[in-house]
Each structure stands twice: as structure tokens, then as C-alpha cells.
């Protein structure tokens, strides 16, 4: 089905560019720089707050219908942080965000300065002994001094895996949540053209993967009337997979709940009604675990009606995350359709 608004080629290009950038939690600068360049011509104002969130504001036409809306997609990706360098130059590390040891073995990782490493393991008697503390990163340094030329304790690495296309599907690292960031930029293109009454704050947030941290302080500063997070959600459509309702290619996922949020019923209904009316493919997401920026946002100040749109994804928090461009386009379409129209009175 052709997209209603989204320029799919443009979004795909941006996803590829953003996903290739380095940006573990707390070190989102390269992603922020890329995004700043893309949103500068589309926003009325751009700010970076004290935690590093990039906030792009579209002023809106105003009037009695106007609301202040916050959209959030996080810039950070999961990664590894160096905790120790041994005499032979091997690096020990801890995870940044949700990572298991099985995902890591044999992976290639890259540091901010381009230093490449591979993850090795101590000799294990049993695969069950595969624990994070028995893994290490080998950057090819022969000594502590040689390693210390390139990394130090506190340096972070991310998966080295660029996005590859496979028909309408993309696979690679950091599609969580660079695909959401690309959705927000694409939405800004259309809001620019449509000039709705609402004042829209597009927040590219930091440190989501370590506890929804950036969105919390951004929401405090913005104090929105309504908020939507745009993130990815695990799909349940792989062999012997989890029993989850969401399928790749099934459309944008309207979040009902996860562990951080129960979507405001009016927000959820608005999303469902708008999607149904515009013929945008959608599915309902009920996630028994996990969280998104909306979880932090809705508890800000005296509370913010909030919901989330999720891009279905497979193999999350691995180098091979996979999304469907049709779902990405549907997410753009639904956001644009919602923001072009009147928004309900809230809370009520």
C-alpha cells in the first residue's frame, strides 16, 4: 500500500545514515550532530538541554484548537563501557543498556574514535558459564600502554554493523531507535507543509536505554499538553517466538501498555480512530515488559496524557535488528494525520 504522506525513500536513507552513527547512552553527540543538520531547516527553534536532548520546535499556527505536543524518539543505542584494561591490553566491560552475553560473543564493536575490537571469551567448560564478566574486548593492542593510547576506562563501544536492505526490510544495529528518530524528521517535513495549529516539540532524547532519563528532563522543560513516544517494539512473529500480538509488516503499533506506561485512553483512542479513518495499517501493542520515553514523560510535573507508536522490530538489542519500511511509513502517516487535525481536550 502506498504511503499517505511518508516519502519512503527519504526515510530509508535517513535511517541508514542515522543507524550508522555512533551513539551509546550518554555519548549521543554524533547522532545529535546529524539530526541537528536535518532538522535545522524544518524547525522554528532548536535547543540542546543540559542532559544533551535535542529539542526542535515547530511553532504552529495557534488559535483555540492549538495544543502543545511533545514527540520523543531516543538517539542513544545500547553499547558497552570499558571498566578495566589488563596488562596485555584486553578490555573488560559492562553493558550499557539491556544486553546479554550470548549476543556479544564474536561480535565486532567500534569505539567513538573508530577503534575496532572483537569480543572474545575466556575458555569455558560449559556454554552455561558464558557470563558478561568472562568476556573481553580485543582491540589488537599488545599491552596496557598500547590499549590506553586508544581507549580508557569509561570509553564506550557499539556494535559495528551497518544497515543492509532486504526488500522492504532493513537489518542492522541501532534501528532501535534511529528509525524512530527518522520518523520524527519525516513528520517535521510534513508539518512544515501542513502548518497545523499545534506547537510541536520533537525531542531527540538521550539515555533512554539506561532508564528513560533524557525524556524526563525534556518533558519537565516543555510541559506538554500531550506526548507521544516513537520507538520500536518486539514482534512475536518469528519461529517459536514470544506470544506477542505485533507482527513485522502489520502496520504501526499503537501501544496499550508496557512496564513504564499505560497509554492515556483518549490518546490511544485518537490514534486508533485516526488510523481507521485514514486507512493507515495499525495493530495494538500490549507489551508485558520494557518501557519507552512515554513512561518518563507521563509522570512529569502534574502528569501528561501520553501514548506511543511503535515500529515492530525483530532481534532487538542485537547487531541484526530488523524493521519493515511499510511499518515505518505507517508510523509517519499516522503521526502526521493526528497532528494535522484537532486534538481532544485533556485531561477529562
Amino acid at each position: 500500500m502506498p504511503a499517505l504522506y511518508a516519502d519512503v525513500d527519504r526515510v530509508e536513507q535517513l535511517i541508514r545514515q542515522l543507524a550508522a552513527a555512533y551513539g551509546p547512552s550518554g555519548h549521543e553527540e554524533p547522532v545529535r550532530a546529524l539530526l541537528s543538520a536535518h532538522v535545522a531547516p524544518l524547525a522554528d527553534e532548536i535547543t540542546v538541554d543540559r542532559l544533551g536532548n535535542l529539542i526542535a520546535r515547530i511553532r504552529g499556527q495557534g488559535g483555540p484548537q492549538a495544543r502543545r505536543v511533545m514527540l520523543a524518539a531516543h538517539m542513544d543505542e545500547i553499547g558497552l563501557i570499558v571498566t578495566h584494561i589488563d596488562d596485555k591490553g584486553f578490555l573488560r566491560f559492562a553493558p550499557v543498556g539491556g544486553l546479554g552475553p550470548a549476543t556479544l560473543l564474536g561480535q565486532r564493536v567500534v569505539f567513538a574514535d573508530g577503534t575496532v575490537g572483537v569480543i572474545g571469551a575466556e575458555k569455558l567448560e560449559d556454554v552455561k558459564d558464558l557470563k558478561m564478566e568472562r568476556l573481553f574486548i580485543d582491540i589488537g593492542a599488545g599491552s596496557r600502554a598500547a590499549a590506553a593510547q586508544r581507549v580508557q576506562v569509561g570509553s564506550m563501544a557499539v556494535f559495528a554493523q551497518e544497515v543492509a536492505g532486504s526488500g522492504s526490510r532493513l537489518t542492522g544495529k541501532a534501528l532501535d531507535d534511529r528509525s524512530g528518530c527518522a520518523v520524527l524528521v519525516e513528520v517535521m517535513h510534513h508539518l512544515r507543509a501542513a502548518a497545523p495549529p499545534h506547537e510541536v516539540y520533537c525531542v531527540f532524547s538521550v539515555q533512554e536505554e539506561v532508564g528513560l532519563r533524557g525524556a524526563r528532563t525534556a518533558a519537565y522543560a516543555i510541559a506538554p499538553d500531550m506526548a507521544l513516544a516513537v520507538d520500536v517494539t518486539p514482534s512475536g512473529d518469528t519461529p517459536q517466538g514470544e506470544k506477542l500480538n505485533v507482527a513485522l509488516g502489520g502496520g504501526t503499533a499503537i501501544k496499550v501498555k508496557d512496564r513504564s506506561l499505560i497509554s492515556h485512553p483518549k490518546v490511544r483512542q485518537l490514534l486508533v480512530d485516526t488510523a481507521a479513518e485514514a486507512g493507515i495499517p495499525y495493530q495494538m501493542e500490549v507489551l508485558p515488559y520494557g518501557g519507552t520515553d512515554a513512561g518518563a514523560i507521563h509522570l512529569t510535573k502534574s502528569g501528561v496524557p501520553a501514548g506511543a507508536l511503535s515500529i515492530p522490530a525483530r532481534y532487538l538489542h542485537t547487531p541484526g535488528e530488523m524493521v519493515d519500511l511499510g511499518d515505518v511509513a505507517a508510523t509517519v502517516d499516522l503521526l502526521v494525520a493526528v497532528l494535522k487535525g484537532p486534538l481532544p481536550e485533556m485531561p477529562a
Partner: protein, 346 residues
């Protein structure tokens, strides 16, 4: 040494008033003013009207401990843990119970009476009890009530080459450092905040930071020092005697890079030994402070302490002094660090 007094005072989370009173006495002549907020944090300030970023320096007053939950028929006290305590450190320790410091011992079956496997297992805190020598419930109730706190009865002392031992160095070491720092004069506003209830969820710091609304924050801690047998080199969070530890990440916070860089630069240029904290679990008040209002750049500096969250920790007085020197040097650099922070968010 104020650390001696602070270490020996009882002050389990929610019961920090004795520590607070002693700290106020120690700092009242060093600050322009102070007040106690609704949760019990002691917020002090100096130079509040000066230009520049408001700098909040926080250390928590509370310590881990026990709370009496029930008194048995036979006069023995059942308890729950307040804060993170390894059950294995509890058995057979001397404690003090309640506001009057009633002496007691955490009781355990003697070895003669143990069944086959009992000696091989650590006893859960739910099976342990505090014995204050009361013969009956009635006798115990004359001096103890459920809801009262208990702390380890550990005397402060000096040992080894410049080491001290005592309880509650986490975070009375931080409190003692803050007392020292408040003797200095700063060209910018400084808020010295002694917080409550850190050990049970970084609670006091959260509301104190909301109130102070700082431009940047430093958290002073006594942190783990796993340099003892049985720990791989890469699992050793800090090393005793190797100087102040600077945190790069923990479970609650990724420190602001300009502050971390500023701390490292201050240590290097003053020739002060320092180390990275090399593990990423646990949390500090910085976890709540940095998420306050629209966000606060924050960092954590710790004095390494062996055996924290146990009845008795070790700390090096040289580490303490080097931590004080590092913080003093960093605070001199604050105007420059603030400039770098401002550039970062331009």
C-alpha cells in the same frame, strides 16, 4: 576527627537526626545559612547571591541498618534489613537497639547444636534475631518497640599504616569531606546538602535538588573497594590507598563528561593520585539529582572503602585527604567547567 564521631553515631535511613545535629554544629560557622527540609535533609549554603552556577555538593547522612519488626514471647527481637545488607555478615554481630542504644547481639544457634547441613548455609535474616538479654516479651517491651532501628555496635579505630576502621563510612566519609569543603570560600554559590534516605532509593537528594535547583552537582561517597582475595582484577571496583575514585557510569547515572574531565584534569594538574571506579552497579544520589527539573549535570567522587555495608569498613586517611584535595582543586576550576557545560548545550 569528626569522622570518628560521625561513624559512631546511629543514623539508619529515616533516623538521621543525630547525625544531622552533629553536622549542623560542625558547619554552622562555615556557612551563611542552613535549614532542614520536610524530609529531613540538611541544606546549607554560602554565597547564595554570588554570580555563577549554583553548585550543589551532596553527601548522605543515612547508613544501612536494621529495623525491629516483632518481639517474640521469649523476648527475642525479630528484624528486617534497611538498605542493602548481605545476610552472611549479620550473624553473631553486636548491635545497638533503639534511641537509647540498648546493647544486643544477633543470635545464632551454637555450633554444638547444628544439624548436618546447617553449618554449610548462610542463615537468612528472617531466621536471625537480636538478643538483648530480656527473659520475656514483657521485659523486652520495657525498652524496645517494633519500628525502632538497630545499628552495628562498631567502635571507630585506627590501624595499619594510616587506615581507620568503623561503621557507616558509607557515607559519613562523604559527610566529613563536605564539612571540610564548606570551610573553603568560593566565588560562586555553593549548597552543601546532607541528604536522608539514600540507601533505600536516593530519596532525600531528589527533593533537595528540586529545592536547590543547582547548575551542577557533585556527590561525595564512600564506595566499594573490592581489592581483596577472590576478586578478579577486572572485578575490583576500586583499590584502597590509590586515591579518590571517579565514576564513569553506575546503575543510576552516567556522569556529565565535562565534570568527569574537569575532575581528572584537576587531579592530574595538582598531582593527586586518583582512580576510575571500575564497576557499574549500584547508585548514588547523583542518580536522582541529575534528573531533577530540566536536568542537572552531575558527577560522583568516592573515597574507596573496604567492606562497606558491613559492620566494619576500612578506609585510608591518605585517600580521604587526597579526595579532599581533589575536590578543592576541582571547585577552583568550576567557572571554567561551567563554561564548557554552557558550550556543550549551545
Amino acid at each position: 576527627m569528626i569522622l570518628r564521631e560521625l561513624s559512631e553515631l546511629p543514623g539508619v535511613s529515616g533516623d538521621e537526626h543525630r547525625v544531622r545535629a552533629r553536622l549542623w554544629e560542625a558547619v554552622r560557622d562555615r556557612v551563611d545559612g542552613g535549614r532542614v527540609d520536610a524530609l529531613g535533609n540538611l541544606i546549607t549554603w554560602k554565597g547564595a547571591d554570588r554570580p555563577g552556577p549554583k553548585v550543589m555538593i551532596a553527601a548522605h547522612m543515612d547508613e544501612i541498618g536494621l529495623m525491629i519488626t516483632r518481639i517474640d514471647k521469649d523476648g527475642l527481637l525479630r528484624f528486617r534489613k534497611v538498605g542493602g545488607i548481605d545476610d552472611r555478615v549479620l550473624a553473631a554481630k553486636a548491635v545497638r537497639v533503639g534511641p537509647d542504644g540498648i546493647p544486643g547481639v544477633i543470635g545464632l544457634k551454637p555450633i554444638h547444636l547444628l544439624k548436618d547441613n546447617e553449618a554449610k548455609k548462610a542463615v537468612s535474616h528472617e531466621e536471625l534475631y537480636i538478643d538483648i538479654g530480656a527473659a520475656s516479651k514483657e521485659e523486652a517491651e520495657r525498652v524496645v518497640r517494633p519500628g525502632m532501628y538497630a545499628t552495628f555496635a562498631t567502635a571507630f579505630g585506627e590501624l595499619g599504616d594510616g587506615l581507620v576502621k568503623g561503621k557507616a563510612f558509607d557515607d559519613r566519609a562523604g559527610c566529613a569531606l563536605l564539612v571540610e569543603l564548606l570551610a573553603l570560600d568560593f566565588p560562586f554559590p555553593v549548597y552543601g546538602v546532607f541528604t536522608v534516605q539514600e540507601e533505600i532509593g536516593l530519596r532525600g537528594a531528589r527533593v533537595a535538588a528540586y529545592d536547590v535547583a543547582p547548575g551542577l552537582a557533585l556527590v561525595l561517597e564512600g564506595t566499594t573497594c573490592a581489592d581483596t582475595p577472590g576478586t578478579d582484577p577486572h572485578g575490583q571496583s576500586t583499590l584502597l590507598g590509590h586515591g579518590p575514585a571517579i565514576t564513569v557510569m553506575d546503575a543510576t547515572h552516567i556522569p556529565a563528561r565535562p565534570l568527569v574531565d574537569g575532575l581528572v584534569a584537576a587531579a592530574e594538574s595538582a598531582g593527586i593520585p586518583w582512580q576510575w571506579k571500575r564497576t557499574t552497579f549500584g547508585g548514588t544520589d547523583a542518580g536522582s539529582i541529575h534528573l531533577t527539573r530540566a536536568g542537572v549535570p552531575a558527577a560522583t567522587v568516592s573515597v574507596p572503602c573496604r567492606y562497606i555495608h558491613s559492620p566494619c569498613a576500612f578506609m585510608s586517611l591518605r585517600d580521604f585527604e587526597n579526595t579532599r584535595r581533589l575536590l578543592a582543586a576541582f571547585l577552583e576550576d568550576v567557572p571554567r567547567v561551567a563554561e564548557r557545560l554552557a558550550q556543550g548545550s549551545a
